[in-house]
Symmetry: C2
Subunit: 519 residues, 2 copies
C-alpha cells in the first residue's frame, strides 16, 4: 500500500506543465497506425427504410442517370460496362452499379506508407484520420487570415506527421498559392513524401497531375510495389447533382488503371445541390457514388474504392453553408449504413465549422461533426483536423485543437469493456460504502489506461489556471503548434530517392513550361 | 416561378442582423413545451451485457448494501419495506428494489407549470432541458468570475424563461451567496415562481427547506393541485459510494410524502467515488439509484421518481475531474439503457466542461456531453445551459451559447423523415443533372422547415463578418444575453398569490431567525 501511495503521490506532484509532459509521453507510447472499433455503429434507419432509399437510387440511375461533361472516353467505358449512353447522358439498368461494386470492389484495403508500420487499413471496423483538404487560406493567432503558401503546406504536413492522432498525411492540406498552379502538385506530393512517412493522397485536378503523382510514387515505393499495392488514395468529387466532369473522372481513371485507390464523393450543399431533406440527399448521394464506383470497376475490376459523402446544410435565409447541424449528421448516419450494405469503405465527416476563428462556435460545430463521424462508422475521415470557415481556411490552432480531440476516439469506439476487470464487481464489493476508490487495488491496476485525458484542455483549478496566465484554448494551441514545429525532424529518406524525385520534378517542370508556352 | 424567385430573393436580402431577427421570429413560433424523439436511442451494450450489470448491481445491494448516515427513521422505512437492516447498513434481498420500482414507479409523469401550456412530460420519448444547477460563482465577459448574487440568480431564471429551448426553470441556477444560507431557499423558490412560468425544482439542503418549498407550491398552485399532481421535481444526490445522508434522504421523503417527484442521482467522479471503469461505474450507479428509488416507493408507492446519473472522468495524474471525454459518454449510454429496462425516466448529461472560460475547450466538451445526452435517450437534462469550470461557475455567455445548441436537438432526435416528401424522389427525378435545387418546387415547399440554423453562429462570409466587427462567439453571446435581459418581462401572476407568498416568506424568515438564535 505504501508503494501505491507513493506512486500515486508522485504522479500527482508537479505543475500542469509536468502533467502535460507526462500525458504526451503516455500518449506517444499508445500511437496506433489506425483505430479499430468494437462498438457497433449507430443505425438511425431500419432495413426497410434503407431498402427504400436503395430502390429510389436505382430509379434515379435508371431514369435520369448521370451527365458526363467533356469526357467522351468515359462514355465509351460506361457503354462497354453495360450502361445506356445517349449523348452525354449515361443511364444504368437497375442493379448494374450495385452488382459491379458487390462483385469486384474490396470491402477493405491497405494503403501502404513508406514506413511500413504506418500503413493503414481502410474499411471494415477501422478508422483513419487525415487532415483538412483544400483551403486556399490559412489562419493563425499571430498572423490572422492570409493566403496559404508552400511554407504553410509544409508546416501542416509536419504537424500531421508529428501528430499521434492523425494516421494519414492527407493531400492538399492547403493550396500553396505562391507556387504556379501547373506545377504545384509536384511540390505538394514531394512534401508528403519527404516530410512525412505517413500515407498520403494524390493530385486530382488533371489526369496529367494524377499521372505525375503515380510516377513519383513509383520512384518512392518502387514500380513493382505500386503495381501490386495501394500506395495512393485520391479524392474524386462528383459535380452534384448527377454530373461528373473530365478532370475528376479522368484522374480517377488514371489512378484506378495504376491500381491505386480513389474516394468517390458526392460533395453536396443540401438544398442547393440536392433536395433539402435528409433522405433525399442520402438517396442522391448513393446514386452518384454508385455511378462513380461502378465506373472504377468498369475501368479495372477490383479497384479499391471508398464511398464518400460530404453533405452540409445551408441557411435558407442567406444561402450560406452551415456545419455541425443535425441534418448533415443524419445524412452521415444514413449514408454510412448504405455503404455498409454495399460492403465498401466509407469516407465522411471531420471537424467542420463555418466559424472564421477557433472559438466556441468552431468547437461546437467540429464536435457535432466528429461525434456522428465516430458513431456512424466512418472509415476514412478527411478534414479531421484544421478546418475553418467552411473549408476556406486551414487554421493552425484549430488543427492542434481538433487533433487533440481525435485522441479520444479510440476509447469511445472501443465501447464498454464487460470483462471481469471492466465490470469491477470485486472492487465495489471490497471497497464498501463511503470510502473513496483512489487506494483501491483495482484503481491502482487500471489507472494508466483508465481515462482519456486531453493534452490541450486545461482541467486545473481556477487559481492554478489564473496563476499560470489564464490562457484560453487558442492561446495554449498557439504554443503547442509552435512547439511541435520546433521539435519536428524529417523521417529518414534514401538520398538516391530524393535525388530521383527531384530530377523527375525538374524534368516535369520543363515539360510543363514548354506545354504552357506552346498553348 | 416569379413569385418563388421574389420570395426567395426577399429572404436573402438584408444584413446578418435582419437574418438573425428572422431566425428568432421563426424559432419563437416553433417553441414546444418539451421535445419528443422518434429516433431510437443508441444502444452500446447487448441485452446480455445489461443483464450482467443488473445481476452485479443486485449482488452489491445484497452483500454490501447502502450506508444510511444520521437518519434512523430511514432505517425503519427500509426495514418495513423488506430490507435487512444491521446498524446503519441496509441490505436488499435480490430483486427487491427492482420489483418495488417495477410495481409502483411511473414510467413517465407530467410536472405542471403554473402556465399549463408549459407543463412538461418527463419520461418515455420526451426530452426536457433545464439550466445549470449549483454554481457558487458566475462569469461574464465584462466582470469576469465572481461570487454569484441573488441578482445573478434572477438573471439566470429570466434567461431560462425567455429561452425558446429550455423547457424548465431549474433549481439552484446559481448559489446566491449574498443571502443568508438559512433563508435563501425561500428567495430562490420565489424567483422561479415570480419571474418564470416554467416548471421548477425545490430545495434539498434540509427537509425543512423542502417543506417550505412544498408550502410555497401550495400557495402558487393551490393545495388540491399539489396533492394530486407533480408540481415539483427535486434533485437528490447519493453520497457515492453506496451511502445516503440525512439532508438528501429526508428531503426526498418530504417531497415524496407530498406527492412530489425526485431525481435520485448517484453523483460520481469515476476513479474516486466508483471504479475507474465504465461498466463498474454504471453498475454502482444502478445499485445506488435503485436503493434510492426503492426508498421512495417504500415511503409512498407510486411516487414519481427519475433515475439520475452524473458521472465524470478524472485526470489520474492530477485528480481533476474531466468532462466531454469518452468514458462518461459510455457510462451515459449504458445507464440510459438500464433506466429503460427499469421503465423509469432518466436524467443525465448536459453541456459540461472543465474550462474556465467559454472557449473552444468549453464548446468541445459541452458538445461531446450533449451528443450522448441526445443520442442516449436522456429524458431530463439538468445543466443543459450555462455550466463552466466543472460546475463551479454559471457563465452568462456560456448559457446562451449552450441554449442555442439545444435548439438543434429536436431536428436530430426526430430522425430521418422517410415520407414521400422526405425521400424527395420526384424532386430528384424532375430536377435533372447539373442544375441547382434552389428553384425546385420541393425546395420551395420545404425551405422554412428544411434545416436548423443556429441563432448565435456566424455563417457569413469572412468579408461580411469582418465588416461587421469580426466578433467571436463570446462577443456575440455577450450581446445576446444582455438583449434578452433587456427585453425580459415577467409573466403575469395574481397579486393575491404574490402577497401570500411574501407573507409566508416573512413568517418563515422570522421563525428561522428565532431557531438560529435559540440554537
Amino acid at each position: 500500500m505504501t508503494d501505491r501511495t507513493n506512486r500515486t503521490g508522485r504522479r500527482r506532484g508537479g505543475g500542469s506543465e509536468a502533467r502535460r509532459a507526462a500525458r504526451v509521453a503516455a500518449s506517444e507510447m499508445q500511437q496506433a497506425p489506425f483505430l479499430t472499433r468494437s462498438l457497433a455503429p449507430y443505425e438511425v434507419i431500419s432495413e426497410e427504410g434503407l431498402s427504400l432509399i436503395e430502390e429510389n437510387a436505382d430509379t434515379i440511375l435508371e431514369r435520369v442517370g448521370v451527365e458526363i461533361v467533356d469526357y467522351p472516353e468515359a462514355l465509351r467505358i460506361f457503354r462497354d460496362g453495360g450502361a445506356e449512353v445517349e449523348g452525354t447522358r449515361v443511364r444504368f439498368p437497375r442493379g448494374l452499379c450495385r452488382s459491379l461494386i458487390a462483385q469486384y470492389a474490396p470491402g477493405s484495403f491497405t494503403q501502404l506508407a513508406r514506413k511500413p508500420e504506418r500503413s493503414v487499413t481502410i474499411g471494415g471496423p477501422h478508422v483513419v484520420f487525415a487532415p483538412v483538404y483544400g483551403p486556399p487560406f490559412v489562419r493563425d493567432l499571430d498572423g490572422g487570415r492570409r493566403y496559404a503558401t508552400y511554407e504553410d503546406f509544409e508546416n501542416l504536413v509536419k504537424l500531421a506527421y508529428v501528430s499521434r492522432n492523425l494516421h494519414h498525411s492527407g493531400g492538399t492540406v492547403c493550396e500553396p498559392v505562391d507556387l504556379p498552379v501547373e506545377e504545384r502538385h509536384l511540390d505538394m506530393v514531394y512534401a508528403h513524401m519527404r516530410l512525412s512517412d505517413k500515407p498520403f493522397m494524390g493530385s486530382v485536378t488533371h489526369p496529367d497531375r494524377a499521372r505525375d503523382t503515380v510516377d513519383m510514387a513509383r520512384i518512392l515505393f518502387g514500380a513493382d510495389t505500386v503495381e501490386n499495392n495501394t500506395v495512393l488514395l485520391s479524392l474524386i468529387n462528383a459535380n452534384s447533382p448527377l454530373s461528373w466532369d473530365f478532370s475528376m473522372l479522368a484522374s480517377a481513371r488514371t489512378y484506378v488503371e495504376a491500381g491505386q485507390a480513389v474516394i468517390i464523393t458526392p460533395f453536396i450543399l443540401a438544398g442547393a445541390m440536392s433536395p433539402v431533406t435528409v433522405a433525399g440527399t442520402a438517396t442522391q448521394t448513393l446514386a452518384e457514388a454508385m455511378a462513380g464506383m461502378a465506373f472504377c470497376q468498369m475501368v479495372r475490376p477490383g479497384a479499391p474504392v471508398v464511398f464518400g459523402s460530404f453533405a452540409s446544410s445551408m441557411s435558407m435565409q442567406s444561402g450560406a453553408p452551415t456545419f455541425g447541424t443535425p441534418e448533415p449528421a443524419l445524412v452521415l448516419y444514413t449514408v454510412a449504413a448504405l455503404a455498409r450494405r454495399l460492403a465498401v469503405p466509407f469516407r465522411s465527416g471531420g471537424t467542420l465549422t463555418a466559424s472564421k476563428v477557433p472559438d466556441a462556435q468552431a468547437a461546437y460545430e467540429a464536435a457535432l461533426t466528429l461525434s456522428p463521424t465516430l458513431l456512424g462508422g466512418v472509415n476514412f475521415v478527411l478534414h479531421a483536423a484544421g478546418w475553418l470557415e467552411g473549408g476556406l481556411v486551414a487554421g493552425y490552432e484549430k488543427f492542434v485543437l481538433d487533433d487533440d480531440q481525435l485522441g479520444a476516439a479510440q476509447a469511445l469506439i472501443s465501447g464498454v469493456d464487460l470483462s471481469d476487470n471492466g465490470l469491477a464487481l470485486d472492487a465495489i464489493l471490497g471497497n464498501g460504502p463511503g470510502k473513496h476508490f483512489l487506494d483501491n487495488p483495482h484503481t491502482f491496476d487500471n489507472y494508466t489506461s483508465a481515462f482519456w485525458v486531453s493534452e490541450l484542455a486545461n482541467n486545473d483549478s481556477f487559481e492554478q489556471w489564473s496563476d499560470e496566465g489564464a490562457e484560453d484554448s487558442v492561446a495554449r494551441a498557439n504554443k503547442v503548434w509552435k512547439e511541435r514545429l520546433a521539435r519536428y525532424e524529417p523521417p529518414p529518406l534514401d538520398d538516391a530517392v530524393v535525388e530521383e524525385l527531384q530530377e523527375f520534378m525538374a524534368r516535369r517542370r520543363t515539360e510543363i513550361a514548354a506545354e504552357r508556352d506552346s498553348a
